[in-house]
């Protein structure tokens, strides 16, 4: 049975004559999304996937970046279509994450239409064998009441 006590106040253990000191780090954050805020707000409130475009070279970035790393000018917001092609897929059988606990789950790379780089996202195939690199996929969003403004709010499925 798990011991839920704060380890910092649990007595030391002695193992093979050596002391083992239970300890814990716990840090909560309040992260400023700053210039990237619109991405999270549009995702949570309107189920829109936003990217940015460099007005100089035309590169479209999603995940968005507020400046172009090549041109060093500020980018402008654009809405992504949510359509793209699968570039990688993996089936996770043992989760080592406390964010995704249910296994198996599927993650992969998707190259969104028009975007310069692929992104890593959640996938929801019926079967892993249904996924093939290069296949067209599109984003589906969780219902409004389930969205939290993280990229877990959407997942990609193969086009019909």
């Amino acid at each position: 049975m798990a011991d839920d006590r704060d380890p910092r106040f649990v007595p030391i253990k002695v193992q093979d004559g050596f002391a083992v000191i239970p300890d814990r780090w716990k840090v909560d954050f309040r992260v400023s999304a700053g210039e990237l805020s619109r991405f999270y707000i549009e995702l949570k409130e309107n189920a829109r996937l936003m990217g940015t475009r460099c007005p100089n070279c035309g590169s479209v970035y999603c995940w968005p970046r507020s400046w172009c790393k090549d041109c060093y000018v500020d980018c402008e917001w654009v809405e992504m279509s949510g359509k793209g092609k699968l570039t990688l897929c993996s089936r996770v059988e043992i989760s080592l994450s406390d964010i995704q606990k249910e296994v198996p789950f599927f993650q992969g790379g998707v190259h969104l239409d028009g975007a310069r780089y692929p992104v890593v996202v959640m996938l929801r195939p019926v079967e892993f064998e249904d996924l093939h690199v290069g296949m067209p996929v599109h984003a589906e969003f969780l219902p409004s009441e389930e969205r939290t403004g993280r990229i877990r709010d959407f997942y990609f499925i193969p086009d019909e």
């Binding site: 050596f18 239970p22 993996s90 043992i94 989760s95 080592l96």
Partner: protein, 392 residues
């Protein structure tokens, strides 16, 4: 490099899953003491120290280097810390080489240490690594390091027909090599079938395809050419250092042709150019490389130019990477059989190549080594990489 840089001393602790009898400063101290004795030096000879310690969580301390440095009796002398994921050790060696080559210090020590097992369980250990993900987007997926490497391996399978059996052969080789390394954590006689039958984590990677999590320390002592005479050991030279980076996001890569690990490729080419290596297949007589996962090692043969693109499996099955092959890879056992005390790894790789060149590698000695390669990488799919050419 302005000045030539010699390795005058090497030392390490044994590597284990758990050193319950030692703290991380003690592990560091033991490797430092061994390296000083190896060089015929004392701590008073050390002008500056670079610490290779990857992750604050493993030492449960955000400035672990400070708490080692003072206890080594090195207060009032410069000490700094490098942290670059799995390439922490390689980047620390590079920083120390720069301190010597620039003429800033004649004698610089690199101390790599990690105490991975002090994290209470493997889930929290991996969680602490996932905190390296892009904090604004991908971190919220809870993706693990295995996923980032898995994508590259899947590409290799789809494009070159590499199989899970091929990858399992890397595990058989590296855990087998570890049997000749008394400091290795996981010497094992395993079969391809054992590997294929071990539990799947992320397709196609199984538990035995994974690198180890280790505790331990490694130290090297570098000296300028004019300071070499202060030591009792024979110099071994660092003749090439290459370092590179990529996006810290898993899938974000600019086109790199057939290179699956562009930062590795770039770091190798830079190191080769500095060392004057034109034909790696004949020049690199032994290599200690970052086999974070079995299939990665197959990709690395190609990235290092030990064979052509898509020829990694052939290179392996021909036995060229085996002990007794043309280019033995990971005679220490690598990260799969030897150790992966993360910050220490890139330092220990140099320790091993130095021992191979000196002819001090015991049962795992590769005959007549005059030149070897050490390479470490870290971050999502090798986003940091350092390649180091070492010569006798």
């Amino acid at each position: 490099m302005n000045d030539r840089v010699a390795v005058m001393g090497v030392g390490n602790t044994p590597f284990k899953a758990r050193h319950i009898d030692k703290t991380f400063p003690r592990l560091a101290y033991e490797s430092v003491k061994a390296a000083l004795e190896d060089a015929g030096a004392t701590k008073e000879d050390i002008g500056s120290t670079v610490y290779a310690i990857y992750n604050d969580f493993f030492e449960h301390c955000a400035m672990p280097d400070l708490h080692i440095h003072y206890q080594l009796g090195l207060a009032r002398k410069p000490g700094s810390r490098i942290t670059c994921g799995g390439a922490t050790g390689g980047y620390a060696v590079r920083a120390a080489v720069a301190e010597v080559a620039s003429g800033m210090h004649d004698v610089v020590m690199v101390v790599g240490v990690e105490k991975v097992g002090d994290v209470a369980n493997v889930f929290d250990m991996v969680k602490s690594i996932t905190y390296a993900a892009d904090p604004f987007f991908e971190a919220s997926l809870g993706a693990s390091p295995a996923g980032s490497y898995g994508g590259a391996i899947l590409w290799h399978m789809e494009n070159y027909g590499t199989t899970e059996e091929d990858m399992a052969r890397v595990v058989v080789k590296n855990k087998g090599n570890a049997r000749n390394n008394p400091d290795a954590q996981s010497p094992m006689e395993v079969t391809v079938e054992d590997v294929l039958g071990s539990p799947l984590i992320i397709y196609p990677l199984k538990i035995l395809d994974h690198c180890l999590n280790s505790e331990g320390a490694a130290t090297i002592i570098l000296a300028s050419e004019k300071a070499v005479g202060r030591f009792s050991s024979d110099p071994v030279w660092i003749t090439g250092v290459g370092a590179s980076t990529e996006s810290g996001r898993q899938a974000e890569r600019d086109d790199a042709g057939k290179s699956l690990f562009p930062a590795v490729r770039a770091s190798a080419l830079e190191a080769y150019e500095m060392a004057g290596v034109a034909d790696p297949g004949s020049a690199i007589q032994v290599a200690e490389v970052y086999d974070s996962f079995s299939g990665v090692e197959i990709c690395l043969y190609e990235e290092f130019g030990l064979c052509g693109w898509g020829e990694g499996v052939q290179f392996l099955t021909d036995g060229r990477a085996d002990m007794g092959g043309s280019n033995p890879v990971n005679p220490s056992g690598g990260l799969i059989g030897g150790e992966h005390a993360i910050g220490a790894t890139g330092v220990y790789q140099v320790v091993e190549i130095v021992r191979q060149i000196r002819g001090e590698a015991g049962a795992r000695q590769v005959p007549h080594v005059t030149r070897g390669l050490a390479q470490s990488m870290g971050g999502a799919r090798g986003a940091y990489s350092v390649s180091i050419v070492v010569e006798g």
